[in-house]
Each structure stands twice: as C-alpha cells, then as structure tokens.
C-alpha cells in the first residue's frame, strides 16, 4: 500500500508539472486534467477502504445455475403440455465493510413458457445501522413475517404464485419489494416499519403458465385470454405501509401487524373488463411458541376492503377475517410433521349473497387443512416432502410432493409434482385441475 502511495505522489507531481506546462493551452483541457487530479485524490482517500485485501476480505461472490423443466400430466386445451422450462443463472454480490452492507442479486432466466429471456434484479439493497437500536434496509429486498407454513395472513408482501404452482424453488414464492425497512429495537418491544413508495401486487394466476376458471366466460381461460389488469402506478400516492410490533415473552413470540395498501390480487373489474386493485387495510396478530413436544402457532387478521366496507358492492371484494392454528413436531429423527387449520371468513355475507348471481356464491367460511411431512435419509442428502392443502368447504385439494437429492456440496437434483383436484371448476384449487404437473431440476450452487 505504501509503495502504491509513493507511486501515486510521483505521478501527482508529474501531473502538476503537466498542468503548469499546459497553463497557456486550451483551458477546457486543463479543466479535464484538474478533474482527473481530483478523481485521483478521491481514489487515494478511498484507497484504504478499497485496497485489494480489504475488498477481498469483506466481499462475497456466489451464484446459482439451474435447469428446470415441467410437464402437464393432463390435457389442457389452453396450454401446451410443457408447464415449466427455465434456464437460470443468478449471481450474488455481497459487500460488508465496517459501516454498511450491500447486496446485489441479478437473476437471468430464459423462460421457455413465456418464450423470452429476462434479466431481473432480485435483490439490490443497502443496510445501515445509524444508531445502536435502529436498522435500516433500503432497496429491492425479499420480506417475510408471520407464523404460517406456506399460508400467509399478515404477510402482505408480494408472492409469486405462478412460480410456486409450477414447481420453482420455494424461495421464488417470494417476489421482491422495493422498500425501505426501518427496525427499531427497544427493551420493551421491537418495531418493523416498511414503506413501499409503490404498491406491488402478487404475481397471481393470469393464464401465462396456468389456466384458470373465467367466471365471465364460464370456461377455462389460458394464455393471452386474461383481460389484463390495471395496477395502481402513482409513486407515493399508491403506496404501501407494513408494520409489525413484536416481542419475545419467555420464548413465546407475540406480534401485532398493520397494513395499508391494496388487495394483493385483483379485487374488482373496471368498465372495460380489466382487473383492478382496490384499497385494503389490515390488522392482525400472531403467537408462536413451544406447545407439548412441538411448536404451536396462532395467527389472525382482519382485511378491511376500504372501497366496500359494508359489503354491498357486488363488484368489489368484501372484507375478510382470516384465522390460522398450526402445530409442528418431530415424532422421530429426521422426520417432521406440520399440521395447520386455516379459515377465511367473508364479512358482510348477507349483503354479498343478495348481490351475487347464485352460481357464483362462495361459502361464508372457506376452511383449509394443510399437512406437511418432511423426511430425510442418507445424512440428510435425500429429502422427501409431502405437503398438501385440502379445503373441506370447497372440496378441492393441492398436493405438492417433492424429493431432492444432494449429489455433491454444490449440486442438487430435484423432482416433484403439483397436483390439483376439485369437485368444482370454480373453486380455488379446483380451477387449476388441468394444470397438474410434474417437474425436474438440476441446480448448481457456487
């Protein structure tokens, strides 16, 4: 480093001589040289920070390359038999000097179903700790909270249901948010405050990958049949606020939540038939902790449909109450079982019933049982996960078996299925029946 500084000063003196020599020449050029000098001075000041060894020891470079393919196991008139086809390359750059942290995750995917290649930024954030008890994370980030196992009540961060249902890696269920997250930590409780200047919806089923039941058409709809949606698009007006106040009381985690924004999937239709998002606020709470031999969790939330709070507008989604109770335990070594019971209660049901055409009326309570069994063998290199959702009210189910094998420390092979079945074409899982699929993937981590 000292050698380099010496070298720099020699160069610096020479540059200075050069300026003197050039004094009578073109002033613009001299300005440029001065700029160059200034830049060099800046570089010198910053060099202790960006010196080779420091940069090397405080940064990480990683990545993932993946090939993934999926096939429908039943005929779907609206789609080809292929359900997924990804060639993906993801990079991860992480830099963590003394005063901040920075992460950048570009994600390039050649998507055979969409027939296009996309370079997306999955993460690009900076993390600061300006005071002892305040954390700030700003930029594109993945956010999660709440107690459910693949069931979300108070977690109103964007989800990518398309990726989930075609069998992409679980982490792709979470779509990124462009947010500023401020964490305040006190002895009494902790607060997470998240501000998104622009609302971001879920990546809901729109026919691109999976066909769905179209009420107006009275039939299944597929690729290019989606009427399109109009998303709130005015920065700082169409914003979102997420709030969580939480505390660990003798290892029972108690949390209260608040949200102000829009429904995460379309909640109404405009005059032209396009899907739109209306305003929604929510409050909720959760409790999680040891219960007998396992872990129990309780969560509830109230979704207030602000543009239809009394539930008398048939074209806008009514308010909802959601409840979840879950239990997870390990009955034997390398075996975990998770069971959950989930209820969605429609508010203003009387008004709703009056205003709806009878064939489209849903139940007052949508009840769902989820079960997930995870078993591993061979030093945990071979894993089998059976997870399933069954709705007792809709009489439909979603079954997600998956097996993965760790071929080496950097290579994972995976196979699984997404099976949908239902008594009616109109119910949530029932409408995806023709999309039941199997998939395979090979992922390399480096």
């Amino acid at each position: 480093m000292i050698g380099r500084k010496k070298e720099f000063f020699v160069q610096f003196r020479e540059d200075k001589k050069l300026i003197v020599w050039m004094n009578n020449r073109d002033k613009q050029e001299m300005k440029n040289l001065k700029k160059l000098l200034l830049f060099k001075i800046l570089l010198l000041t910053a060099s202790p920070l960006f010196g080779e060894s420091y940069l090397y020891s405080h940064s990480e470079f990683h990545g993932m390359a993946e090939a993934r393919g999926g096939l429908r196991i039943s005929d779907d008139e609206t789609h080809k038999s292929r359900s997924a086809g990804d060639l993906r390359l993801r990079g991860e750059i992480f830099f963590y000097p003394e005063n901040f942290e920075f992460k950048f995750t570009p994600d390039f995917c050649m998507d055979n179903i969409k027939n296009k290649s996309e370079l997306k930024t999955r993460e690009a954030w900076i993390f600061l700790r300006p005071f002892e008890n305040i954390d700030i994370k700003a930029g594109r980030q993945i956010l999660t909270w709440g107690t459910g196992d693949l069931v979300f009540l108070n977690d109103l961060f964007p989800k990518d249901w398309q990726s989930f249902f075609i069998g992409r890696d679980d982490q792709y269920l979470k779509a990124p948010s462009d947010s500023i997250k401020i964490g305040l930590f006190t002895d009494l409780f902790s607060i997470d405050f998240i501000y998104n200047p622009l609302f971001r919806s879920d990546r809901f089923i729109d026919g691109t990958y999976l066909s769905y039941w179209d009420e107006h058409k009275g039939d299944f709809a597929g690729k290019d049949e989606y009427p399109g949606s109009v998303k709130p698009d005015s920065y700082f007006n169409d914003d979102e606020i997420h709030l969580r106040i939480y505390k660990n009381i003798h290892n029972y985690e108690l949390a209260f939540y608040g949200y102000s924004g829009f429904w995460k999937s379309p909640s109404s239709t405009d005059k032209t038939g396009k899907k739109i998002f209306t305003k929604m606020d929510s409050i909720g709470m959760s409790l999680r902790g040891g219960l007998g031999p396992g872990i129990g969790n309780l969560e509830m939330s109230y979704y207030l449909s602000k543009e239809d709070s009394s539930g008398d507008k048939s074209e806008i989604k009514n308010s909802e109450l959601r409840y979840l109770a879950g239990f997870s335990f390990d009955p034997a070594a390398d075996l975990n079982i998770n069971v959950q019971y989930y209820i969605e209660q429609l508010c203003g049901y009387g008004n709703y019933k009056e205003n709806m055409p009878p064939q489209n009326i849903r139940d007052h309570f949508r009840r769902l049982v989820t079960i997930s069994v995870t078993r591993s063998w061979m030093n945990q290199n071979l894993k089998l996960i059976f997870s399933g959702y069954y709705s007792t009210s809709d009489e439909d189910l979603y079954f997600r078996p998956k097996t993965s094998y760790q071929i080496s420390d950097s290579l994972i092979a995976e196979a699984g299925a997404n099976i949908f079945a239902g008594k009616n074409n109109t119910s949530f899982f029932g409408q995806f029946e023709k999309n039941s699929n199997i998939y395979f993937a090979l992922s390399a981590y480096f």
Partner: protein, 273 residues
Amino acid sequence: MKKEILSIAVFILLIFTSASYSAGLTADEIVKKATHASLYQGKDIKGKISIEITDSLGRKRSRVLNMMRKNVPGSDAQKYFVLFLRPADIKKMVFMVLKHGVPEQDDDRWLYMPGLDLVKRIAASDKRTSFAGSDFLYEDISGRNPMEDIHTLVETTDKYYLIKSTPLKPERVEFEYYNAYIDKNTFIPLKIEYFKQNSRLYRTIKAEKIENLISVENGMEVTYPTVILSIAQDIENRSTSKMKLENIEYNSGIKDEYFSERYLRRPPKMLLR
C-alpha cells in the same frame, strides 16, 4: 409389595453408586466436571467449525459454520448461534438455540432461511437428530443433560475414568447405554462409545486433538483445554464425520442481544467471515 421391591432396588442402587466412590469423586461428580470441561468453559466462546462427512461409499461432504455460545450466569442455560458459510445452497442460514439446561424442558430453536427471509421455529423434542447431516447429533453439539442418565464409575486407571451412563427414559433415545472415557486431568471425554441392545457398539465419538487455549476470565489468566479435532463414527451406517475448530476465542464479551430475531435476520459482522 411392588413399592417395597422398588425401594429395595433404589437402596441397592444407592449403595452401588456410593461404592463406586473413588479417588474422592463420585460418578456424578466426574460427569458434572466432564460436562463443564466440554461445554461450559469460559463465559462465552466463538469460532469456526468445519465438518467433513465421509459416507459409506466414500463420498465427501463439507460444512463450514461460524458459531458463538454464551453461558447464562447462575444456571446451566446456554445460548447458541450458528451461521452456515458452506455449502453454498445453505449459506447465511442461521440456527439459534436457547438451551434451558433443565431435563424436562425442551430447548427453544430457531432457523433463519435467507432466500425467503423466513424466521422459522423448529421443534426440539428430538435431540438425537443429525446436526447438519453429519454424524454428530444436536445433543453432541449442545450437550446431553447429565440428569437424563444414571452414571456409574466402571473403572479408574491412571489416565482416565470410565463412566457407564444408562438413560432414565430409554424410549426417548436410540442407545441402550454409553461408555465415556474421561481424562483424569482435564475431565475432557476422550472417547464415548454408544451401545445398542446386547452391548452392540454402533457409534463412537473421539477427541483426536486437544489444545490448551489461554484466555482471561475475571481479570485472571486461565487455560481452557479444548477439543479442536473430534471424530464421530456411525458404525451402523459406515459414515464418519471429522469436526475441526479454528479461530477459537474465549471470553470475547459476546452480547446477549445477539441471540434475538434481529441478529437472526442480520448476523453480527464478526461472524460473517
């Protein structure tokens, strides 16, 4: 009648236990000292753990993690924080344990999965599960509570004590009993052998390398004999795991607040490298 037989049995057991009183130390005292030597030295500890797993077909897997542990003063409770560095697919995953050190109370365990930004609570009822796919079990890492077994001193040589430990609740473990060879000077278990029915040896843990590490505790220079290389062998599955400890630092003043959701989501910088 049954009660009487039981009390006679307990009485005989008591006589037997006190008969094994040797060199001034009972089996229970030796086990207590051994537990202290292997798990409770210093106020806190941090370091890097590398585990190399070789399975029956000779395939190798490696795990690298940074770990910190802190004792809760005045109790047997401890806090553990583990940040995985390798393999790459589980990089930045964090595992946190609040061990209560009370036989009937399960530990509290958390897992943070960075890809989903998910803080998960995991059940701790089965401590006899493999740690990170290795031949070490959770209980080998965070320690088995001595009150869960009956300990008898089988043999004393000039180098070690041989202690046989039989579980009080055999239905909760996979072994029938285990023998521990405990160093007479340092009280570090040099070898532990686990047996199933008919005294069939199926699992061993050996301390291969012990180093005397110097630190300062309450203003005094202290020496902590520390196992820096140990090997767990699963004889049934013909799998072996080597665990190496590096960059160990005792009493570095690890803060209590590190063992919280805040740091699960954002591990302390000192653990990142």
